[in-house]
């Protein structure tokens, strides 16, 4: 039987007390008297009291020790990474000095070792193997990851990241509108496309594994990676690679992989692994088979169910029709790709030249407009040409480029003015950044910079 508690006498008083309104003594004693006699009101009062004392304790789901430790380690690593990135760029005021952060990074490695030591002493041997996975990323060695390039809206668990930030296993990286290039160990470069999300599942001595939740990634793997492995997991299967350049894209109705260099092994649930070699692409749905990437010749498919050992034969096969995989991208895209590659190699001058050529030859293409921001950043940070950088950023803003890169461009403009020593203009641009993108990372930096400038002016 349902009953309804309709008494409103105490309720009105509770409304006043919660709003911190003072009650006359007589009224308080009246309420106390009422609660004594009215069961529903008394019960509600008891429940609320219970809630006040026990809510924070009872509302939290339990977390096992391993996950708890992992989350703490994750937070520590990210706090250190964000701080070091900020210090590295010299733009953010931080409670940590650069020297201290360097010391902290070294200390982190030592502390990880100590924690492992303590675990062993505590007799936590059964958990050691799993814990090792958590800690190994911070050990000295080639098994680390970092953001080599970040532009636009790139976040790790909703926290915006900047270039140089460190990666740890379990990081979920979302690229909304922009791009991110990751370095996983020293031998894997991963370019995450716009509107994509990946998760770094593993990063350690055995190699790296990422999970593509949606969108696309393009990977370039150094052939000397062996015997380490690199795997991209998708909802439709796994793509394992060793020494190659390839792309995996999760579209609405299919997941496909295209290989530009070397070969990859594709493993789909319930099927034998098969190989895809350079110049070919395939859909991971268990039915589609190899199609050529770059030559639109008619022909039948030839490599279905090929085993991993057959990789060497695949290169010799005749390329087939191109029904599913796009053909060689148009020239602006090629130029952009070359510029990115040079940028990754640290060849700034070469990259800048390619970007400039792209802007000159295809001034109205999307690639050219987008590349103006990258060009500006290289000119500013790597070639020490703030005036040229300013011009690049201005051109991007005039062309009304993508909104998300506008904040990068404005931020770059402010830095260019700073490098040129033009304070008034810098302040004006910083104010624009804050006004137009109030919740962005750039706005936070702009506020801090403005504070510094104001403090300097006051002196």
């Amino acid at each position: 039987m349902m009953t309804r508690h309709d008494c409103k006498i105490a309720s009105r008083i509770w409304e006043d007390t919660i709003a911190e309104k003072r009650l006359p003594e007589a009224l308080e004693s009246f309420v106390a008297d009422h609660l004594e006699h009215c069961t529903p009101c008394r019960t509600e009062d008891e429940w609320i009291s219970l809630y006040q004392t026990k809510a924070p304790e009872l509302l939290v789901p339990p977390l096992d020790e391993l996950k708890r430790r992992r989350r703490i380690e994750d937070a520590l690593a990210r706090a250190a990474a964000e701080t070091s990135a900020a210090v590295g760029t010299g733009k953010t005021k931080s409670p940590f000095s650069a020297k201290r952060v360097l010391f902290g990074a070294v200390a982190a490695v030592v502390v990880m070792g100590l924690v492992l030591g303590v675990l062993i002493e505590d007799g936590a041997a059964p958990e050691l193997a799993r814990n090792e996975e958590i800690f190994q990323v911070t050990k000295a060695g080639p098994y680390h990851g970092e953001f080599l390039e970040v532009s636009g809206d790139v976040t790790v668990r909703r926290v915006p990241v900047s270039q140089g930030a460190a990666l740890i296993p379990g990081s979920r990286i979302s690229v909304a509108d922009g791009r991110a290039v990751l370095g996983l160990t020293t031998k894997i470069h991963l370019n995450i496309e716009s509107n994509s999300e990946i998760e770094v599942s593993e990063l350690g001595a055995k190699g790296a594994e990422i999970t593509l939740n949606f969108g696309g990634v393009r990977a370039r793997v150094d052939p000397t990676l062996k015997p380490l492995s690199f795997t991209v997991s998708t909802r439709a299967g796994r793509v394992t690679v060793s020494g190659t350049e390839f792309v995996v894209r999760d579209e609405k109705d299919r997941v496909w992989v295209g290989v530009f260099e070397g070969s990859v092994r594709v493993t789909e649930p319930g099927r034998r692994p098969r190989a895809v070699s350079a110049g070919f692409g395939t859909v991971l749905d268990g039915t589609e088979i190899l199609t050529a990437l770059d030559e639109a010749e008619a022909g039948e498919v030839s490599h279905e169910e090929a085993s991993h050992e057959e990789v060497s034969h695949l290169d010799a096969k005749t390329p087939v029709s191109n029904r599913t995989i796009p053909s060689e991208p148009p020239a602006p895209e090629n130029l952009l790709r070359r510029a990115h590659a040079l940028r990754l190699e640290g060849n700034w001058r070469g990259a800048a030249k390619i970007y400039q050529r792209l802007c000159r030859e295809y001034p109205n293409s999307n690639e050219a407009v987008t590349s103006l921001v990258s060009l500006g950043q290289i000119q500013l940070r790597n070639l020490s040409k703030p005036k040229a950088a300013l011009s690049s950023f201005d051109r991007y803003l005039k062309k009304g480029g993508q909104k998300d890169l506008a904040r990068e461009a404005l931020d770059g403009k402010a830095q260019a003015y700073r490098a040129m020593g033009k304070r008034t203009q810098e302040i004006s641009v910083l104010e624009q950044v804050i006004a137009q993108f109030p919740s962005s990372v750039q706005a936070r930096r702009a506020k801090e910079r403005l504070q510094t400038l104001n403090a300097d002016n006051a002196l």
């Binding site: 039987m1 349902m2 009953t3 309804r4 508690h5 309709d6 409103k8 309720s11 509770w14 409304e15 006043d16 919660i18 709003a19 911190e20 069961t39 529903p40 019960t43 509600e44 429940w47 609320i48 219970l50 809630y51 006040q52 026990k54 809510a55 924070p56 304790e57 009872l58 509302l59 939290v60 789901p61 977390l63 708890r68 989350r71 703490i72 994750d74 937070a75 520590l76 990210r78 706090a79 964000e82 701080t83 931080s94 409670p95 940590f96 000095s97 201290r100 952060v101 010391f103 902290g104 200390a107 982190a108 030592v110 502390v111 924690v115 668990r157 909703r158 926290v159 919740s439």
Partner: protein, 209 residues
């Protein structure tokens, strides 16, 4: 003056000593002492998580919010001046951070931890008081979260975390009188929801208890 020493666990007797020890710990964090940061993070993690779940509900993003808050605390450790307790300081950062994340995340889900059928099964078949208490707390939390950000968050801050109207106004960047009014309306709606909720009606009636 207390000095942070990671060989020892902070052991204090008076409130002043406690504040000094906390201040020393946060200063060590600000200086990049990794062990101090680790200790601070481990010390605060459960509290930060509890606050996050109280304010943001038990939706799928709450653990992420808690982690963001913890990172902010680690970064802000240097600005702790030791005037109020460390818990008060970190609570404020946590609540502010969680509120900001809720506002930023347009897909934030408050989440209902259990459906009514499950609650009734557990609540009325068990005579263990602790389980029943947990059910009441979860159910009340559900009701408060269902009041939405406007009324739910101030009510949670007031009831579950004991913040004053003034503090809630500061934390949520909302005028004092607006918060008072929201608390008043929220409490009224909470009363009405309790009155109409079958779970509480059955508990009133004492069925199967």
């Amino acid at each position: 003056m207390a000095v942070w020493n990671h060989e020892k666990i902070i052991c204090v007797e008076t409130e002043k000593e406690q504040l000094e020890a906390e201040f020393a710990l946060t200063q060590a964090c600000a200086c990049g002492d990794d062990e101090a940061m680790r200790r601070l993070a481990a010390m605060l993690f459960d509290r930060v998580r509890a606050l996050t779940y109280t304010v943001a509900g038990s939706g799928p993003d709450s653990d992420d919010y808690a982690q963001i808050a913890l990172i902010e605390i680690l970064r802000a450790a240097g600005s702790f001046r030791g005037e109020s307790s460390l818990q008060r300081f970190t609570d404020r950062i946590t609540v502010r951070s969680v509120i900001r994340e809720i506002k930023r995340n347009k897909r934030h889900r408050w989440h209902l931890p259990l459906d009514v059928a499950d609650e009734e099964k557990i609540a009325f078949k068990s005579i263990e008081n602790e389980i029943h208490q947990r059910q009441i707390v979860i159910k009340l939390s559900n009701i408060i979260q269902n009041l939405g950000y406007k009324f739910g968050v101030p009510l949670q801050l007031k009831l579950a975390l004991g913040y004053s109207v003034q503090e809630i106004a500061e934390l949520t960047d909302t005028p004092y009188n607006t918060i008072r009014e929201r608390l008043r309306i929220g409490r009224k709606r909470l009363h009405r929801a309790i009155a109409e909720d079958p779970f509480f009606s059955r508990t009133h009636a004492g069925e199967d208890m």
